[in-house]
């Protein structure tokens, strides 16, 4: 029953570790971008928009979005799997976490694309 899954749990966990570590680096860059100017002005509209136009920063933002969505929703999946055990629940968790991950990435990407075009 467990054998014919797409990914073995060990592969999923490898993804979990890699996304976690990678996220630390990109988030660090993201936070640094807030700190190289005074914090208040880092949140100003024009500054933000200029960020979105910087292709390097766009790449960072998209990475954060993908990495943390995968890492975070997989974390939630793990916690929910531990809470209850039956096939219906477990399948529901899998479907829900995958869709939530895709949805969040899609929504965030929309912001990046639109802001980039502003």
């Amino acid at each position: 029953m467990e054998r014919h899954r797409m990914l073995k749990e060990s592969q999923i966990m490898k993804i979990h570790y890699i996304t976690g570590i990678a996220a630390i680096f990109v988030v660090a860059v993201h936070i640094l971008m807030r700190l190289i100017v005074p914090f208040g002005s880092s949140l100003e509209y024009d500054y933000i928009i200029s960020n979105y136009k910087n292709i390097f920063y766009v790449f960072i933002l998209e990475s954060i979005l993908v990495l943390i969505s995968i890492h975070g929703f997989n974390g939630i999946r793990i916690i929910l799997l531990e809470l209850r055990q039956n096939n219906a629940w477990e399948n529901m968790i899998t479907i829900m976490t995958i869709s939530a991950t895709i949805a969040l990435i899609a929504y965030g990407t929309r912001t990046i694309i639109l802001a980039n075009g502003l």
């Binding site: 570790y17 005074p38 914090f39 208040g40 943390i68 939630i76 929504y107």
Partner: protein, 148 residues
């Protein structure tokens, strides 16, 4: 895995077991913190993606939303986020190391009184360092957010 015949949930400790992590020591506290901070950070992350999406609706929308968050409570929340992410990262790195078997010692012949080598000082100090780093980050966040 074979389907279990014995699936009684009678006497399971459940989430109550998490509520008193102190009786099992630092590793249990770290486990508990890692979970709580993880869930908390995911919630913040979803909120943050939503928050930043207001920028596509123009400057007014962005600034009016920003105003909602630029309060004392908003700043305290952000400081929590800073603490949580620092702890989750630092402790997470420690956990990844342990999961690949690094820093735990090797199996041997334990002598009475037994001190499990996996609960060694390296691990405990890893947890303490994560806690200290997270406190320092929160302090720094505090000076930045409330310092102006």
């Amino acid at each position: 895995m074979k389907e279990l015949e014995h699936d009684s949930r009678n006497n399971l400790e459940g989430l109550k077991g998490w509520l008193n992590p102190s009786r099992y020591g630092w590793e249990r506290i770290s486990y508990w913190f890692q979970r709580i901070t993880g869930v908390f950070l995911l919630i913040y992350f979803i909120g943050h993606v939503y928050e930043t999406s207001t920028i596509v609706n123009g400057q007014n929308a962005w600034e009016s939303f920003l105003e909602l968050t630029q309060t004392v409570w908003g700043h305290l929340f952000l400081i929590m986020v800073i603490g949580a992410s620092t702890f989750h990262s630092a402790n997470g790195i420690r956990l990844i190391f342990t999961h690949v078997g690094i820093g735990l010692g090797t199996p041997g012949r334990p002598d009475y009184p037994y001190n499990p080598s996996s609960l060694n000082y390296r691990q405990k100090s890893g947890i303490w360092i994560a806690l200290i780093l997270s406190a320092a980050a929160m302090y720094y966040g505090f000076t930045v957010l409330f310092g102006e």
